[in-house]
């Protein structure tokens, strides 16, 4: 049987306008307050026009899980998100250091690491996607990303040919 593949939040940098509404929405849904620093999705804006949003990418061989000295992190079998055992986690931050994407938050109030869980407990699409005004955010797997990229490059090629 093939390895299970999981969907994660992906952002199309061509569409992202850098507005950060995804951060505000995520923080409110997860903490009841507007505090972008506690958002599990973060907008990176390299001034002036380079921008995208980053959340947990559900890495296949997740370094955060390996890095945790207390075995507080594990992968959900249901949808692949990284689960944080609130009792085991003591907020040491090794997972944050291990994450190549800066996608893990240390909540100073709970003293726990917090990671995007795709809002699996909510009905409907994750709020970050719902609040994105420009449809830059979506759920995707590495395979759907590859397919999309291939379709786009061929469409472009076709357009160029057609233009000639």
């Amino acid at each position: 049987m093939a390895q299970p593949v999981y969907e994660h939040i992906i952002c199309d940098p061509a569409k992202c306008t850098g507005c950060r509404l995804c951060e505000y929405a995520c923080a409110m849904v997860k903490t009841g307050k507007f505090d972008a620093n506690l958002s599990r999705i973060r907008v990176v804006r390299i001034e002036p026009i380079t921008m995208t949003a980053i959340a947990c990418r559900l890495c296949a061989d997740a370094p955060c899980i390996i890095a945790c000295p207390r075995n507080a992190l594990s992968r959900s079998e249901k949808n692949g998100v990284i689960l944080v055992d609130q009792d085991k986690c003591d907020g040491c931050g090794w997972c944050i250091e291990a994450c190549d994407f800066g996608a893990i938050v240390l909540n100073p109030e709970t003293k726990n690491a917090e990671i995007c869980d795709l809002c699996q407990d909510l009905e409907g699409e994750p709020p970050c996607i719902a609040y994105c005004p420009v449809e830059a955010l979506s759920l995707g797997t590495p395979e759907t990303l590859r397919q999309k990229a291939r379709r786009e490059v061929v469409a472009k090629l076709f357009e160029e040919l057609f233009k000639e």
Binding site: C19, Y24, K33, F34, E47, I49, Y131, P133, V134
Partner: protein, 624 residues
């Protein structure tokens, strides 16, 4: 309190003293935030008759009730002071990350007075206020300053409002830049420079809580969806540069210092052309769902590498208005203005005045230090922008703004100095926009489209734009009050067509965010109150009826071509319109505010200071 913090931070940079002023819901709901609260803070903290560039002027920031929340385009702040251009109220708006951090640092408003002995960076780190040596940043442009301070403090959460070389040299129309957005008009960058503040860095760690999170989240989502609908189609498609061709076709595009209103090269400087040839990305302010800012990049030619987010007003000012029909040059010119920290609108109108002076022989090649700034000479324009920012040669004169420069030069150049109250004109020729001609003549901050807003009724065809008639006073008043509500909340004006019942919907969202009850009627009254407050400030600072007037060119030179050929605003028309407006406002025929009016608006303290007794109505003929 929810959303609000109830705290105003006072900073005196002369002796590095700070204090906190507590404000309650009753006070704050009268002004909401933004330019309303900022104006009130200016009124309360500047002594009458103070020098705008002296230590007594108060530079005031006030944040939106919605900053840092999901309410779209609500992450904004207002900046106000006594304007060094007009001597009256100078209120401007900016937005994005800085606004959010101001609220999260724990402040609804910041009042800065005094003058630092040496240049400083004020670093507001929650309750900890530090005064950093600005020496490493002096001479840096606006964006470099922000980056350098962020790097030094080592945290992306530090957001910075900075001035550029123009603000350091007190160019009267210098601006304050944060996150690539600008509090652009009326010279607040010069006020900041006069206090020897190179930048204000701010970092906030407090989360923002709201009264009704669920309600606010739902309302936000509805508004986000609405903001992607027909009400913002223009802003999302081409952004404000879409105006170029529309206004050109209607004969409203100021060309060669308002000598004409149809530009023969309009196609080449249009939003359509920008999109086709230069567009690289549409960008949003923090918290904005519209993303109107159209970034254009120049990929070849002498301006290769130039890049800027282009809006109509800067575009018109340095482009058609200077006879420049090269989009690449316009992109470069606006970029330079932003980097030097100059209001591109005022800069363009000042340069176009200088160009006309040159073409008429009033100023010579010698006066310009060897430059030949005929209309369309983009090289000269680029060099003039630099000289203005550094006050070099003729730049020192031009840095004073078109009112002062023309008064100094004389020789008839006042005739085509395009300003009202000292603030340079925006990109709509008012000769064939009679409602807007009135709006711009009377509005407190001077020649300004964003505060007056009445161009809408003329351009959208709600009235005959060529006709001056009674009733326009009421229309101008309503548009001005509506604009004012948005500026106080703050919500971006580009959201204005996304509501079905504006006052009701917005009052509801306001209460969800702040927990402060607000009726639609109360919200409406805020607009009227703050417009009266601004006028009251002007009256206190020596306003007379002569200040509500238009430039001679508008009154004397008929339009030479286009759909409005032969049209001007006659002095008789303007006098009639102004009286119609004063009457609609409940002001005296002299444009003063009756005590009773101020008291009805909840401005009792101001009524005592500047209110006049109600004029006794003369009995109508035949009734006596």
């Amino acid at each position: 309190m929810y959303a609000y913090t109830g705290r105003i931070l006072h900073i005196d940079v002369t002796n590095r003293k700070t204090s906190i002023q507590r404000v309650g819901p009753d006070f704050i709901k009268k002004y909401l935030g933004g330019t309303g609260l900022a104006t009130r803070l200016v009124y309360d903290n500047t002594p009458k008759g103070c020098d705008p560039l002296g230590p007594e002027n108060a530079l005031c920031f006030a944040v939106s009730a919605f900053a840092g929340t999901t309410v779209p385009v609500g992450t904004k702040h207002g900046v106000a002071a006594k304007s060094p251009l007009t001597g009256f109220i100078g209120d401007s708006l900016s937005g994005s990350y800085f606004s959010e951090m101001m609220r999260r640092a724990g402040y609804d408003g910041i009042v800065i007075k005094g003058q630092a002995p040496k240049w400083v960076v004020v670093f507001i780190d929650d309750d900890d206020i530090q005064f950093l040596d600005a020496a490493p940043y002096m001479g840096m442009n606006t964006l470099e300053t922000q980056r350098a301070i962020r790097e030094r403090l080592g945290d992306e959460n530090v957001r910075v409002s900075a001035i550029g070389p123009a603000g350091e040299r007190l160019v009267r129309y210098a601006l304050i830049d944060n996150d690539g957005r600008q509090a652009g008009r009326s010279g607040n960058g010069a006020v900041m420079g006069s206090k020897r503040i190179k930048a204000i860095a701010i970092r906030g760690s407090h989360p923002i809580t709201v009264a009704d999170p669920k309600g606010l989240m739902e309302a936000s989502l509805r508004l986000i969806k609405a903001s992607r609908g027909p009400g913002t189609l223009k802003y999302r498609t081409l952004g404000t540069p879409a105006n170029v061709l529309n206004l050109n076709k209607m004969g409203l595009l100021p060309t060669r210092n308002f000598q004409e209103t149809v530009f023969e090269e309009a196609e080449k400087v249009s939003g359509e052309y920008l999109h086709e040839r230069y567009h690289v990305k549409s960008v949003a302010c923090a918290g904005c769902s519209i993303a109107c800012e159209q970034w254009g990049a120049v990929k070849e030619g002498k301006y290769k590498g130039a890049m800027i987010g282009l809006d109509y007003e800067p575009l018109f000012a340095v482009g058609p208005n200077c006879g420049i029909g090269d989009m690449a040059a316009i992109i470069r010119l606006v970029q330079l203005c932003d980097e030097y920290g100059l209001d591109a609108m005022s800069t363009g109108v000042v340069i176009s005045w200088a160009m006309e002076c040159y073409e008429r022989g009033i100023l010579t090649k010698e006066d310009f230090g060897g430059l030949e700034p005929y209309f369309g000479n983009d090289d000269a324009a680029v060099e003039l922008v630099r000289r203005i920012a550094y006050r070099e040669g003729i730049g020192d004169l031009l840095a004073e703004g078109v009112k002062r420069a023309s008064e100094r030069v004389g020789k008839g150049s006042e005739h085509f100095a395009m300003h009202v109250k000292g603030l340079e004109m925006p990109g709509y020729d008012v000769r064939s926009l009679k409602t807007f001609a009135l709006g711009i003549a009377v509005v407190a901050r001077g020649a300004d489209h964003n505060r007056a807003l009445s161009y809408e009724v003329d351009i959208k065809g709600e009235v005959d734009r060529f006709k001056a008639e009674p009733g326009r006073g009421k229309l101008a008043m309503e548009k001005e009050d509506f604009a004012c509500i948005l500026d106080c909340l703050v919500l971006c004006k580009f959201l204005r067509n996304c509501f079905t019942d504006f006052e009701r919907e917005v009052a509801e969202i306001y209460t969800m965010a702040t927990g402060i009850p607000l009726t639609p009627e109360e919200l409406k009254q805020v607009g009227e109150r703050v417009v009266n407050l601004k006028k009251a400030f002007n009256i206190r600072e020596g306003w007379t009826m002569a200040d509500d007037w238009l430039p001679p060119r508008v009154l004397e030179d008929p339009l030479p071509s286009g759909p409005g050929k032969g049209v001007r605003v006659t002095p008789e028309e303007l006098r009639m319109l102004i009286q119609d407006y004063y009457a609609a406002r409940g002001w005296t025929p002299e444009g003063l505010i009756p005590k009773s009016k101020l008291i009805a608006l909840g401005l009792e303290d101001i009524a005592e200071e500047i209110g006049v007794e109600e004029p006794v109505a003369a009995p109508a003929a035949g009734e006596a």
